[in-house]
Amino acid sequence: GRIRLKAAFEAVDTHFQRLFTTLFNGGAAHLELVDSDDPLEAGLEIMAQPPGKKLASLTLLSGGEQALTAIALIFGLFLTNPAPICVLDEVDAPLDDANIERFCDLLDKMVAETRTRYLIVTHNAVTMSRMHRLFGVTMVEQGVSRLVSVDLEAAEELVAA
């Protein structure tokens, strides 16, 4: 119980530290077990330092910085036990274009290193342009969803501007 949780903590922290620095193109972050010596009672604290800024708890970061840090944590959990399928529902909503490009670079890297298949819901044109294929969901008839294939090149023209 405790030993397994401590081992999981160290594995996730190792991935998290590396993923944070990759996504932020610098800076540093780490996880801490706090409030108790017993891992099963402890809290998980997230300490993060975007490039050039002071180390602070997650709550003091900007909206986009918090989201990117949370993504690093979630991918850290994922990499300790890679799943065959990863589904991301609009995780890029609070990110600026530069962070979205780094987020997509990381996805490319994970595609090369794991056999996981990714389903990524997005409203963002940059993210769309980095996908290998697109499916559209439409509601031409009110309240009734349909699935359609979307031409990736048409979507890429949106972004190439």
Binding site: A83, V91, V121, R130, G143, L147
Partner: protein
């Protein structure tokens, strides 16, 4: 496990049968607000055995059945199928005998009668389904299934709640 296809019928706004091919790499899902993208993703967690209606934005599990529109009546059942290739001894756990091959998991809910699961045509229990997916490092509670409110929830979670995320992944 290589998850290849998702089929839905009668599940939330997908009243008409729909099939999603899940190929290697990055597949984007796009469309206007309210068109059904999150519903599509919820179908994956649902067929893997998600047991909490609240985590599917529903009051009760029957709420995942197509509820009708002004021009269509509600349905009485919803069915979602997930098709995967399995390598290794996984299929023996559902009495298939085969260790390699295709796995098709189907979950069906009938209004007022709860859910029923089938794996390669055999009736199985929800528990068997969770075990198959858990053995493949996935399942309804996999940290890799990031729902639309999940990032915000991680950010606003109390330290003890975040530790629980760690426990689930351990």
């Amino acid at each position: 496990m290589k998850i290849k296809r998702l089929r839905l019928t009668g599940f939330k706004s997908f009243v008409e049968p729909a099939e999603l091919r899940i190929e290697p790499g990055l597949t984007g899902v796009v469309g206007p607000n309210g068109c059904g993208k999150s519903n599509l993703l919820e179908a994956i967690r649902w067929v893997m055995g998600e047991s909490s209606p609240k985590s599917m934005r529903s009051g009760g599990m029957d709420d995942v059945i197509f509820a009708g529109t002004s021009s269509r009546p509600a349905r009485d059942f919803a069915e979602v199928a997930l098709v995967a290739d399995l390598e290794g001894a996984a299929l023996t756990s559902i009495g298939d005998g085969d260790s390699d091959g295709e796995l098709e998991v189907i979950r069906r809910i009938e209004r007022g009668q709860g859910s029923a699961y089938r794996a390669n045509g055999r009736d199985v229990r929800a528990k068997d389904i969770s075990l198959i997916f858990a053995d493949a490092a996935t399942g309804a509670h996999s940290p890799a299934l990031v729902s639309q409110g999940k990032i915000a929830a991680v950010i606003s979670a109390k330290p003890a709640e975040r530790r629980q995320m760690l426990e689930e992944a351990a």
